[in-house]
Symmetry: C2
Subunit: 404 residues, 2 copies
Amino acid sequence: MQTSLEDKYAHQIIPFAWPKGYSSDGVHAGLREDRNDMGWIFSEVPAQAAGTYTTNQFQAAPTKLTKNTINQDHKLQAVIMNSANANSCTGKQGDEDALTSQKLVADKLNIDANLVGVASTGIIGEMLPMDIIKKGISELKLTDNKEVTTAILTTDKHAKTISVQLDIDGTPVTISGFCKGSGMIHPKMATMLGFVVTDAKVQDGLLQEMLSKEVDTTFNQITVDGDTSTNDMVVTMANGLANNAEITKSSSDYSNFVEAFHAVLAELAKDIASDGEGATKLVEVNVKNAANHDDAQKVSKAIVGSNLVKSAIFGEDPNWGRIVAAIGQTDAKVDIDHTSIWLNKLPLVENSHGAGFDEAEMKNALSSNKITILVDLNSGSSEGQAWGCDLTYNYVRINASYSS
Amino acid sequence: MQTSLEDKYAHQIIPFAWPKGYSSDGVHAGLREDRNDMGWIFSEVPAQAAGTYTTNQFQAAPTKLTKNTINQDHKLQAVIMNSANANSCTGKQGDEDALTSQKLVADKLNIDANLVGVASTGIIGEMLPMDIIKKGISELKLTDNKEVTTAILTTDKHAKTISVQLDIDGTPVTISGFCKGSGMIHPKMATMLGFVVTDAKVQDGLLQEMLSKEVDTTFNQITVDGDTSTNDMVVTMANGLANNAEITKSSSDYSNFVEAFHAVLAELAKDIASDGEGATKLVEVNVKNAANHDDAQKVSKAIVGSNLVKSAIFGEDPNWGRIVAAIGQTDAKVDIDHTSIWLNKLPLVENSHGAGFDEAEMKNALSSNKITILVDLNSGSSEGQAWGCDLTYNYVRINASYSS
């Protein structure tokens, strides 16, 4: 019996909610003029924690601190966050400021400083105004509100959140994620501030393994502008308060949990791509029949990363030569005479030639706000996926005047 | 005694002219509405020839043909060129059309087909209209005019030409180059159609070695949009009609000739960068104190390739965090606490911190139409250079509506 697409998934998306034992808050401390700019999340009990971090050599102070903190014991109980200032390229003073924030939060929550993560996003190279940071921390409360999801935004147009629920051995478990994206998005390990919290009980050490693996096919497969930030970080916490049978690699529900976890990361990643700076369209590229998974990932990311492809999609122009050129720039194995491409299911390129499509039909497909490109490399049986957005006047406008 | 900067060079730039024995022409054959679209160059005698070609896996038919032709004997006597149609992704018919063009030119000039190069640029994926190509070839004459330099342009705003002259052992020798650039410019071996012709007598085999080496630090160090074309090609011809003492690696004038040859390639490359699609500013990045030459090349190219840096320069915004982020994205050795950056000679970053520059002075520097960024990596003693342009509304406008 065939299962429908929906039946395939053991999890379901629910309205955004905190899993058991998590509370949170967001406030306007004064780093920005009139929007939330500081927030935190807190777990009643120490949670297993995992993180992936930017590979940019100039790693920001909070990113380094959170990495070191998680690596000690893979435990976190709280994360403090701010937007408007990245605390990056701020030298020793920046390191001290991140440490001070960590300690202030630990004191206020009466927990060990080694259980506090610190995350910042915003302009690079300016010192954190610590009086404002202190004021913000003093104002944060433990509530059920979702204000933290807006407190981390910069040029994002909307908060990016998702909650999924699934049963682990009969016990309901929730995984909730939120993130910010928008510009300087071309993650090499993780993107600019993503957080995933769950009440699932997960075997010690397994969370990091899962995160590192799933980030590769989700956050690491999006690009807005090819620029990798100094502050990229995805942090995940699992506090076990759902009281499910512990998830191990041999549990029967292991693959269901990984699938749900993947779905949370993938939805957040896609949301970042579609809300890329100035974007009007989400672009999804699926590659099939690649020689191996790496090739499929590489080709899909090259296409969503091409300025020419991105400009053509903004202009709703079926200029497929640019897609072919982007494929050919990679070192992936390509059958150069038998590569085919579909755009929103319409044949665009057949065996490396124009597919002789109907211009009006194609124009109509291109007018959609979601463009799905499927590439058949005819070189194997592997698949890969990547997400990006179009390149618009607004991207240039936004980035021609960010710091001043 | 100190020599002045001018005295350092054994060559001088002269008004654009063909070296001895070369003739040329350009015509409006009808591939485009009202501008020159076909042209050729011809040498009275077979010339030593060398080429570098795109590394894009989808190599266009004329690019493959010219590569094969040059590789047979490293000799050319003529090159036929067209714009408006790249003859790329055109399958067997495209290969046949390139061969037909080669043969028609050989017949008309009464030379061997193996002495004719073919170069095309323009839209990918459309068949060459051979009736127009035939008409164009039939109309081309052997003249002293420079029409071929405009016949190869696409979205370029102006023809890119340069001639330098130098003495080889007392005999004047001329090197003249022309090219087209504008978009899909991120050469991996060579850029979209560059031609350098000289009347110098050069030892057999030496021209290819020189070209391959000098292209690496000139054409391969420019980027407009990070996209590598399917048609990139630089071809150079040396017909020996200057009657100089043959240039060999051991001639006393060898380094002078290489320097002049490098200058021609570098000037053309810079001209492509400053005339990048939509560009308002030329951006030159110089990297010093790198661990090795590769690192210096990589870092300089990463900076000119960053959309965020390019947008900031368009907006005349001294957002140096983006330059730092671009440097950190590379795997080059970087002293992350002691990296310094200057913009048009004003200190911008000192030891990885903001240099505390005067905003008004910096704004004034940024208003220039040439932005020179100097980066000190404090990791060695090697240097490198790259060129690019700003990212503007017009880049998006031009590329949102190219094919339609």
